[in-house]
Symmetry: D3
Subunit: 319 residues, 6 copies
């Protein structure tokens, strides 16, 4: 059966020529006119299992009413093949209370336990030896805590589900904790601070984790400068409060590591890593983002075949 108990159709398993039913988040709608002069709409339909294009030919005004971008709809459709699979939609309607379906049932979500992640992060911060690292990171984390736990780590490419930001950050933290003991010259509180903060600017850069998009401020400034400014603000507050020293190097070190975490200027870092910890954060970010990009793409792929990983512009082979 393609459809789970809760009505979520498994997009990866549908077949040409079959009829399917299912609930979807409608992530985009575009109107057109066919060569027979009849109006139609092209929909992008999304659920936990992926996304697929659908067409309603000879669309009625009532159907157009139903098809609002961002809403949840139920469709009955025939599976066609036209540049990949496509749904030829016969029936479409809005959901009703009786359907018992919510956004949470449909939106793809990162496989994390939010509470555990939150606890682990708080515990990590509280164990920092130096107050200056501890107070800066704690204050910023607490400010964004609730958004952090549901936000995406990217618009597409990797960790772009609800909770993706927390998933990516907590996995990087786990990697850091496991490999830092191999490199005793690394200052772990500085390393963990950078990991916890490195993508927090994405909360301002990207809006609407369900159908993520760049904000105006995110496009114009970018998450790297956004988080640098945030650290600067909080450091100034803590200086006024006497919690950190006027001439503390800690804010500078944090801003350096955050600014440089993309590793190269042409990847958007205004400076390149110049502390061993900044370099290591960049490398751990590479490990987790690449593993996630590839992992998402090859999940469910057949053995002995190649699967495209668009963000890496390469096919990957599955053993």
């Amino acid at each position: 059966m393609l459809v789970e108990e809760n009505g979520v159709l498994d997009i990866t398993k549908i077949q040409v020529g079959k009829q399917v039913d299912g609930f979807f988040i409608l992530s985009s709608v575009q109107e057109g006119v066919a060569s027979n002069q009849k109006p139609y709409v092209t929909l992008i339909l999304k659920n936990k299992t992926g996304e697929i294009e659908g067409k309603i030919w000879n669309v009625t005004e009532e159907q157009k009413e139903v098809c609002q971008s961002g809403s949840i709809i139920k469709v009955r459709a025939l599976v066609n093949e036209y540049k990949g699979l496509q749904l030829n939609i016969n029936l479409v309607r809005s959901i009703t209370m009786e359907d018992g379906i919510t956004l949470d049932d449909l939106a793809p979500t990162a496989p994390i336990d939010k509470e555990m992640v939150d606890n682990e992060i708080i515990k990590t911060i509280l164990e920092f030896e130096e107050e200056e690292f501890r107070e800066i990171v704690l204050r910023i984390y607490k400010k964004y805590r609730s958004q952090f736990l549901v936000h995406v780590a990217a618009k597409s490419n990797h960790h772009n589900q609800i909770g993706g930001l927390a998933h990516h950050t907590s996995t990087m933290l786990e990697i850091a904790k496991r490999i830092a003991p191999l490199y005793p010259m690394v200052n772990t509180q500085y390393l963990y601070s950078l990991i916890l903060l490195h993508d927090l600017g994405k909360i301002h850069e990207i809006e609407n984790p369900v159908a993520p998009n760049y904000t105006t401020v995110g496009t114009l400034i970018g998450h790297i400068t956004l988080i640098s400014m945030e650290v600067n603000e909080v450091a100034n507050e803590l200086k006024k409060e006497g919690v950190i020293k006027e001439d503390s190097m800690v804010p500078t070190l944090l801003i350096h590591g955050l600014s440089s975490h993309h590793g190269q200027k042409n990847w958007g870092s205004p400076v390149e890593p110049m502390t061993i910890e900044a370099q290591l954060v960049h490398l751990i970010d590479m490990v987790d983002s690449r593993m996630n990009m590839i992992g998402d793409a090859i999940e469910g792929a057949e053995k002995d075949t190649f699967t495209r990983v668009p963000a890496m512009k390469r096919d990957f082979y599955v053993l």
Copy 2:
């Protein structure tokens, strides 16, 4: 005569085999041991007319005492040729009150009238139509005003004299005022704001305009992020004071233009220009920096010859 009344030797005119006398800023000192096992020092000597290497062979302890980096010394030397001209120094002493020489007589200085530049900038800011641009720029300018007027615009390459930052900024402002009328879609207060602020971060990035060097914070963070954080801070203050609105786009626009003013990611801008004014600031910066690089290099060059402009990795021909 090579030596002006005030004792400044014209380095560009000295000749092999001649004896010369002059006052210099000692910008670096390095000790060595010659193949005859005798100690010597290599000095970099600097004045308004340029810089030259000097050697004191068989250097004495007393002479080493005199040769402190950053101090002003008087030397008598024979001009040698060894990979270019070089001073073979016979006598060296510290300056005395009677010499009547000060740093101002020796340090290269940009050809500007500081008071006029300052007046022009204040007048420009006060004419901005919108209070939000006016108040942000005015507050930052006033904070750095005195340093701005004597700082360098770069460690080397262009406008690297005392007052170079004000020279570069005021020339860019003048260009902007002259060409903006040709492009009516350009918002001039935004354009002028970006120009006035664009290199202010160099005050933190580079220290000691007489012998400029990168600071630790400048190396780790860079002037682009430094000024972005400054704008963010001042905008937050003004929001608290009710002078600018909570949701004002002005801080975002300023930070965008400042972040992008290098024009390309691989030139250190975390984002590329996405407003016509940001693009224009980058282009005017290119015009003035290139004209200054070339102009400084070819100044005094003979006609019909090529002169190296190291920052552009090309020779330039003088008509």
Copy 3:
């Protein structure tokens, strides 16, 4: 009303579902066969306000007759949406005398006063101090004067309207006159000469300013070499006439500046700028071409939105 008195439909304002009438230059025609086996044509329709795709489904032989690329037609159509707006054309006919419509009413034209531009250029040339610059530039300008005033400066990207070449050149000249006084080491007659000649080779490189396209010679040789050869020819004539000296450096300097005006080898310059004036021409060209590319794209764009500038591969935000 979308249609001005003279019958020019404002393409930027049409809306899906409405019927429109208007005159257009037909800039391209392509035949096809629909999935219902019926023939159709795809037209690119152009007027002063922009261009739009149109379709004639079930096209007749008579309609095909009318639809000659380059001709002026009148259409009645319904506005559809299919990958952007599209005209679904019901009626099409050739223009008649009574329509009172000419190419000038439809072809996009640069906002210049041709006579003023011509006067300003002639005046500028006549004021050159040295006869050698004056005579070479004057002779070439006079040769191409009439074409220069109506040609395009590019096939697309910037200044690609009738008169675009004169518009671009005269704006660059104006910028040069305004900023040259800031850089006294610049030889203005050399600078202005380069600006006046820099894109003249486009007259040979691109044909038909109404629907501009590369010529064979333009594709094989390019406007940079074309104008270099032209200067060489004229200089040889003037040498024979005794107007310029046999060993004059002026032709070499002009050819150098023209060859290098793209600024970089990978932008098609066989040599890079090696005179301060050649460098400045390149920079002023960057300023005016970028301002025009962005200005054209964002003209009429809504505030607080992003607009694509294809030639710069970036979106631009409008304040």
Copy 4:
């Protein structure tokens, strides 16, 4: 005391003007003639603590006899400064039995316990689930085991001490074991196989771990192709023996991961990683090589200063 009990001078602590004694590996010798027409030799002297240049002015024939590249010598010298510190050598002699000094006392050695590393590797291989991975890797490892434990991982840049190859490999293995559990789609026996083999070709590529240099075959072919051919050979043997199947994908997968472990074509990989395990080996290699490059450079550096890491063309700041 600069000199440890065993006569090893700590090169990082010598000071200008002091006399020092010590044993060194002579890693290069160059003859010259000074400006006083007297012959001299320039030596590169090396021990566990680093390397330093030395000069013997007015060198005698006997001294030249002693100074054979690769031999161990004892010197007495005065510390000079000439483009960094330099030893001005007064006395030089070969070591004698009584000195009780061996290569092991002087050659820099990676901080590993060879036996433990060897045990861990053997244990890891034996735990591979599939015989094909196990047998191929085991046979190759056993063939090179003794060289592997004393070889370098590079001529310079990183892990370039005796045992560096085993150090680098075992650290990568440890990282892999720690982070693989976070990515369950990764086939660990394939991952560990690639790590164990990835730099084994360096045993042929680089000769003489004490003063490592590229071999002819290493220069002409490189370690990537060398190890690929080795795997192919052993796989063919095992096919003949019936241990692995004729159509086994394991040799192909191993050769793919080894070929691609530099991650990019312009870093010398003929193919780019196309299995998640190949990608991960590349990333773990980046982590360990960068951490080692930086770690070696900043070891012993003062806090709050910048230290050059030549292989990364950047300075690194030490907290």
Copy 5:
């Protein structure tokens, strides 16, 4: 007449609106659903004269049966224009014995005489002076001889017909023989050996010369490493047999030249050419591949027009 006696339609000469008949290799099949809800298939049809897209609208199940990728079919169709010419297919059937058509009649074939090529190669090898070159190359050539004579030299781009590999190799050999006498320092047996072996790995890398595609092993390892391993294997065999010496440089030289024959790392060579012969093979490969790419594209093009050569991303003009 478009159709040759043997029923091969000349694709380069068909015209819009005409009906055509012909036999084709069906190189790909894709199903779709038209806007009128009817199923259709898109076919790529191929014969000696080129390839063309075809559509069967309202396709029946019987027609789908016939249309198996890789089979030979006969079609009757109307020529349409839709993004280039297209066949609108009315009738389609499988071939029958009576048609008297075989793959050889339809598959594009390189213009070579297989026997002559084979003889020339054998003769060339037997003339090598040194046994080591002779035996290694001979053994490998004999092993792949029959496949070599019918394989392609690439999937697309150049020499991608049946026999293309032999065509490319024998032309390169001919060039080498003609120009080697001009460079007496070149070792011809080494040069010819490299040419003969350089693309042999393509036999494993690409499968099915009629509709060539990359194999799994070809994608994961690439033809460069494949042939290097082959040489290594054969050299080891010959060492065991005592035919070549244990320390022979010949295998290393061959593997070097094969590894480096793409000339640059970012073109997939793990090492760059470091023998004059390796460099020359790369250059001759460039000559023959470029001449073939351009030659194939412009064959039959009209004079005074431009034709796209996709592999070179440029248009070429035909005199």
Copy 6:
């Protein structure tokens, strides 16, 4: 014996510690002052066999008189080693009539028979079928014939001896004649025309073949534009004379092939090859220049060693 009968010392064979005598062209002279305060000169000495640095310590005024750059001198010197071999010169004098030495004996000369080359070229041109190619090429060749036969093909890198231009051109012509028959679509008169003209602009670009240097016009314009202008001039003359048609494509084709012969924009070609002949000239140029660069470098190198080819930034191994 190192010295041939005519007094030319074989620079490649001198050894440290030996005394040598020989005649040299003095290609550069630089004065200096040694650490013992005595003046010295550094000379670059050149003959057919190579070049070497020499020093005259404690140089006298008389010796300085003798050492004029460009003159021929006789020296007696001791061979030292200081960053490579160096001559420590004891005696130096100008040549006298009795020495019987001329520039021809010393200047490195390409191994060609000038008369044969000239005859071959004239014969080749006269065989062109079309008058337009024949007349343009013949007129230009005749104009530069005498300089062509003694000029260099480059300042350094390849064919930088007297006659190098003719050597390079005639070898390329020979290659073209040998391989053109393999590519029948190639127009040989066009191909040969491009080869004959391609580097003729170097006659203006580089001066003084004995010690070649870039001219001002060569630096500012480059040989590609210089020869393009020359072809344009001659074509215009021939049009006036009625020898070639007003609308002839031949000048355009020649200028295209000359402009594009560097093959890529970033190698200084304003356009890239767009005729098969232009592409082939570029490739043949690559073949002959690379073979000459490597051949010159490895000539005389020991077997089984690596020799640096600076222009290719690689070492080459000699079999």
